[in-house]
Subunit: 208 residues, 2 copies
DNA sequence: GTCTATACTGAGATAGAC
DNA sequence: GTCTATCTCAGTATAGAC
């Protein structure tokens, strides 16, 4: 096997945090499944929070690299015009759902971390550069949209995305529901969100 | 004062759960601020989970009553045509944000409970009837939208709503940002969501 | 540099006296 | 109804074996 203690902890914790939630998973459960000693967690990571941080870093790095590469590509393709809104949204969503096929645990965990508002400082650290890159591209794609309105619409988008990643609770699927593939979900979201972003600003908001 | 032990616990716990999160708030902190004994919590509610359940029940009951009343009113006004999508959405969102003015703690807590996926069984118990009533009205307003597509679009909407209620993290407000009132936020959301719901189904999804 | 054994503090829960 | 005492299990800290 040759997997190190550190990697064993990372892999098991990633899975258990994603399945059961961060708070609901005890370090003792992690070390039991990983077959390592409790103190090894604190030796390698320092604390439970820093263990989560390491997991997020490991997964978010390649994810965000792919997102930025797609943003670059779409903007280059469209130059000198701005990239279309649909593609800017797709650049953020598609790598996420593509990753969900190879590493569903991490993606589910990300939905949780985002939804639970766990460690906002850590989230910012790992995602701020990407979000800024994304917001700039969106503002270029929608030059007439006031920045305050753009800010909230992007909040709506990330809220919807994390809802999907967490997996829907709250109500049941309709009778005869047919499961969607990752690509379908991306197109569903892109389609819905693009329509929202293209909408003219509400009258009640404009007259501020 | 004359406030009972039970009510003191409910009020303090509602505030602390909303401010700090459910898991992050200890019962010992609650009973310290409420000035009651630790065992009183378990006497009156049975467990920490059931305390949360009682708080959600107390707040969700009037909230959902107002939502249903609005749905009834909008559908009656439009009859025999279905109520417009905008109003169906508004019937769910407006009472939430109106409540946020009088009882911001509870609304923030609801955002947390929803985002954290805390106790999905409890959420279903308190919100399932409302959600079904809402879904029916939406399906009537959009008779050509396939139920599977409606299902996901409603997920997007609730994800966006809970994101707003939790308060945005992840990135900063733009420079010169002007705070919005509750009514403005409702119209922002209604406007964005209605555009999304009205969008034709994505080509990649339709050809299933 | 890695890892183990063990102890410490604070969490939720419970039994039983009053 | 209320309160004290106590139980188990959580995350954490440290001393020391290899």
């Amino acid at each position: 096997m040759s997997q190190t203690t550190k990697d064993k902890i990372l892999d098991i914790a990633e899975r258990l945090f994603g399945e059961q939630g961060y708070e609901a998973t005890s370090l003792r459960h992690v070390i039991f499944e990983a077959g390592v000693n409790l103190a090894a967690v604190h030796y390698h990571f320092g604390s439970k929070e820093e263990l989560l941080d390491a997991i997020v870093l490991r997964g978010a790095t390649p994810l965000n690299e792919e997102r930025v590469a797609l943003l670059d590509r779409y903007e280059k393709e469209a130059a000198p015009a701005p990239a279309p809104v649909e593609n800017v949204i797709r650049a953020v969503l598609a790598p996420t759902f593509r990753m969900a096929k190879g590493n569903p645990q991490f993606v589910k965990l990300m939905g949780r971390v985002h939804g639970e508002g766990l460690m906002p400082a850590m989230l910012k650290r790992h995602f701020q550069p990407l979000v800024e890159r994304f917001m700039d591209a969106m503002q270029r794609a929608l030059p007439d949209l006031p920045p305050d309105e753009l800010f909230w619409r992007v909040q709506f988008m990330f809220g919807a995305m994390s809802q999907v990643l967490r997996g829907p609770h709250l109500f049941d699927k309709p009778k005869g529901y047919v499961e969607s593939g990752a690509e379908e979900m991306v197109e569903r979201l892109v389609n819905f969100m693009a329509a929202g972003f293209h909408a003219p600003v509400a009258a009640a908001v404009q007259e501020k």
